[in-house]
Symmetry: C2
Subunit: 381 residues, 2 copies
C-alpha cells in the first residue's frame, strides 16, 4: 500500500540518524558524551509521583476520561496562568489538557489549515512546526530570526511580503534553540500584526520557567484571545517530559475547533496523570528556584566548554540550552562531526534548526555537572 502524498516531504531527521550512530559508537565501547539531547534528566516533585501512585491504586481510576480532562486539572492550569502570567482563562472552555504540547502543534494545524494555506515558521526553530504544517497540507514559509535582532522577527520586512494566504504564525519565546526572550513590546506588536493580517499567532511556551526571571505569556497581550493561542507543557517546567502532559489555551471558538479534531483521535488522559499534574501545577515558587539552581551550575561549566571550543555565546539565554556561534567559517555539521570523532563529545549542529543557524551549535543543560566536567576535561587533554 502506497503511503499518502502528505508524507512525501517528511523524512527521518538527520538528528535521529545521528543519535543512532552515537548509540552504535557507544556500544562499540567509545566513551561518547552526548550533550545534544534536550531531555530533562531531573525527576518531578515527590508529591507528584505520590499522587500518581495513590490515584492509580483507586479502583475507580481506570476508565475512559472526558476529552476535555477533569475540571480540577483545567482549573489548576487556569490558576497557574493567573499566578505566573497574569492571564485570566475560563477553565470551562478556554483550556484543554494535551498529551504533551507537541500533539497540540498537529491539532492546531489540522484544525485551521486548508491545503495550500501558508504558515509562518521560525528559522531557526523547532522542526515540528514545519512537519505538522506539511502533514496538514499547508505550505511552511520560514521567517528569519537573526542574533542581531535578538532572534525577533522583522515584522516590517514581513509586511512587505504577501501575507494574504498566511493563516498561522508560530512563535516560540523563550526561543529554542537560541534562548532569546521577547520583550513586552514585541508581544504587543505581534498581536497587532496578527489582528491586522488575520493571522492566528500561536506561542509555544514550554521554556518560560527555565533560567528566566520574567515568565511571559502571549495571551497577556491579547485579552480577548482574538488572534492568539498558546501551548504550554509540564515537560521542562516540572521535569515531566516523559509523562506527556501539556495544555492549549485560547478563546472558546478556537478551542472548540481543535477539539473537533482531537476528540476524534483520542480520549482523555489517564486520571492518575491528571491528578499528578494538578500537584505539579500547585507547587510553589521554590520548586522553580531549586531547579534553576541546578541549571545555573551546569551552565557555568557549559560556558567553559564553549570557551574552550572558541564558541561565542550571547548572555542571558533562557531555557534548557546554551547556544553559540562556532569560530571561523566552518559549518556546524563539519564542526560537530569533528568534535564527535576526535573528542568524543556530541553537540547539536545548528543547521538542523534552519538555514540561519548553519554556524551555530546547541549544548543541552539536561546533563549532570559531572558529565559536563568530564566533557571539559576531555577538551583540556
Amino acid at each position: 500500500m502506497k503511503e499518502a502524498n502528505r508524507l512525501q516531504h517528511i523524512k527521518e531527521y538527520y538528528f535521529s540518524r545521528k543519535l543512532k550512530e552515537i548509540e552504535k559508537l557507544q556500544k562499540q565501547g567509545r566513551d561518547i558524551i552526548n550533550l545534544g539531547i534536550g531531555n530533562p534528566d531531573l525527576p518531578p516533585s515527590y508529591e507528584v509521583i505520590k499522587e500518581l501512585s495513590q490515584t492509580a491504586s483507586m479502583a475507580s481510576a481506570h476508565g475512559y476520561q472526558s476529552y476535555r480532562g477533569i475540571e480540577g486539572l483545567r482549573k489548576s492550569f487556569a490558576r497557574f496562568y493567573k499566578k505566573y502570567f497574569g492571564v485570566k482563562l475560563n477553565p470551562h472552555d478556554e483550556i484543554i489538557p494535551l498529551t504533551g504540547s507537541k500533539e497540540g502543534i498537529m491539532h492546531i494545524s489540522m484544525a485551521f489549515i486548508n491545503p495550500g494555506d501558508k504558515v509562518l515558521i521560525p528559522d531557526p526553530g523547532y522542526l515540528t512546526y514545519r512537519s505538522a504544517t506539511l502533514l496538514a497540507g499547508g505550505i511552511p514559509v520560514g521567517y528569519d530570526l537573526f542574533p542581531e535582532n535578538n532572534y525577533l522577527p522583522d515584522l516590517k520586512a514581513l509586511e512587505k511580503t504577501n501575507l494574504e494566504e498566511v493563516k498561522i504564525m508560530w512563535i516560540n519565546y523563550p526561543h529554542m534553540p537560541s534562548g532569546s526572550l521577547a520583550p513586552a513590546s514585541f508581544y504587543k506588536k505581534i498581536i497587532e500584526f496578527g489582528k491586522k493580517h488575520q493571522i492566528l499567532i500561536v506561542n509555544d511556551n514550554p521554556y518560560s520557567f527555565i533560567l528566566n526571571n520574567e515568565p511571559r505569556s502571549l495571551l497577556h497581550y491579547d485579552p480577548g484571545m482574538e488572534t492568539s493561542m498558546e501551548l504550554n507543557s509540564l515537560s521542562k517546567s516540572h521535569n515531566m517530559a516523559g509523562w506527556r502532559i501539556g495544555m492549549l489555551a485560547g478563546k472558546k471558538e478556537h478551542i472548540d475547533a481543535v477539539m473537533k479534531f482531537k476528540s476524534n483521535m483520542d480520549s482523555g488522559m489517564f486520571l492518575a496523570l491528571q491528578k499528578a499534574a494538578i500537584k505539579a501545577l500547585n507547587l510553589n515558587e521554590e520548586w522553580f528556584e531549586n531547579m534553576n539552581r541546578i541549571y545555573r551550575k551546569r551552565k557555568i561549566i557549559a560556558e567553559k566548554i564553549f570557551e574552550k571550543l572558541h564558541i561565542h555565546h550571547g548572555k542571558d539565554q533562557a531555557g534548557l540550552f546554551l547556544w553559540g556561534k562556532i569560530p571561523g567559517e566552518t559549518d556546524s555539521k563539519t564542526f560537530t562531526d569533528k568534535l564527535l570523532y576526535e573528542k568524543e563529545i556530541f553537540l547539536t549542529p545548528g543547521f538542523i534548526f534552519g538555514n540561519n543557524s548553519k554556524n551555530y551549535v546547541r549544548l543541552s543543560l539536561t546533563n549532570s555537572t559531572g558529565l559536563l566536567e568530564k566533557a571539559l576535561k576531555k577538551l583540556e587533554k
Copy 2:
C-alpha cells in the same frame, strides 16, 4: 480564525449530547441508570498498578521516551500475539505501541489516505472510522452488515461495486456493537479480497478476550501482512481504558509510513505506563477467566432486562455489550428516549452506529450486577 474545511462534516455526536442531558437529569435528582456507556469499570491487575508506582518512583523514569516504545513492551506485544493468536511478529519493526488504539485509526488514515480516496467502513460500526476518514480527506463508503449474515460483509456484492478508488477497509471482529464473531473462513476470504483489489484491510481487535473462547487475529491469515494491519488495545482486555495503551501491528513498510505521521505528533509513552503494560501482557489465562466470570454474571441479568423489554438478541455475542432488536417498528431513538424518561434507564440507540441498526439497542456490560438488578427491578414495577 475560520476552522479548516476538513472539520465541516465533523459534528458533536448525538451520543455525547445525550450523555450531557443524562448528567443534567441526574443532577436534578433523577435516579437514572445509564447502561449506555462501554467504559470498563473493573480495575487492572494489582501487579500492573504496582509496576506503575515502582517505575514512577525511579529518578530516571521521567524523560522523553523513544517514539517506538521500549523494546520490552514491543517484545511483550509480540509474545502476546504468538501465544493467543499464533501470529509471529518482529518486535523490532512490525509493532508500535499507541496511546490507545483510537489514535491508530487516525494515524493509519493520515498515513495512507489521499484526498478523494475511498474507505470502506462497517454499517453498523464504530463511529471513529468515519470521522478519521473525513479528517484525512477521504470518502467513507459504508458497507452493510446484516444479522442474517451474522454481521459479515457480503464480499460478492461489494465486488459488484466500483472498488478502484478504495484504499482501506476497516473491519472489527469481534464486532462492535453486535458482538458477532468472524469465522476463520471469513478472514481467509477478506485477505484474498484485499489482495485482489489492493485494499489495506485493517482489523480493529479490542474485544477478542471478552466473552469469547476463540480469540483470532486477522494477521494469522496473512503471514506476510501484505494487505493487512491490526489494532489492539489493553482497554477492554486488561481494564486499562483510561490508561491509553494500544498497539498497531503490520509489515515494516506499513508501520514505517504510520510512524512518519505519528512521530511528528507525539513522543513515546511514559516509561511507567510502558512497564505496567508489560505486566498486563504477561498475565496468564486466569486473568481473562476471572474477568469473564464477572461479565457472564452480568450478561444473565442483561438478558433478563432485554426479555422484559421484548428486545430480541442473538446468542453467543462476544465483547462488552448485549445487542438486540427492539419490538415492533419503533425506531431506536424513540424507544430509548421513552425508556429514559419513563423508566429512568438509558440504553444506547442503535441508529448512532449506522443506517442498518435503527431498530436496535446496545446495553453495556460494564455495569455492576447490582446496578443491572436495580434496572431490572425498575422495569418490573
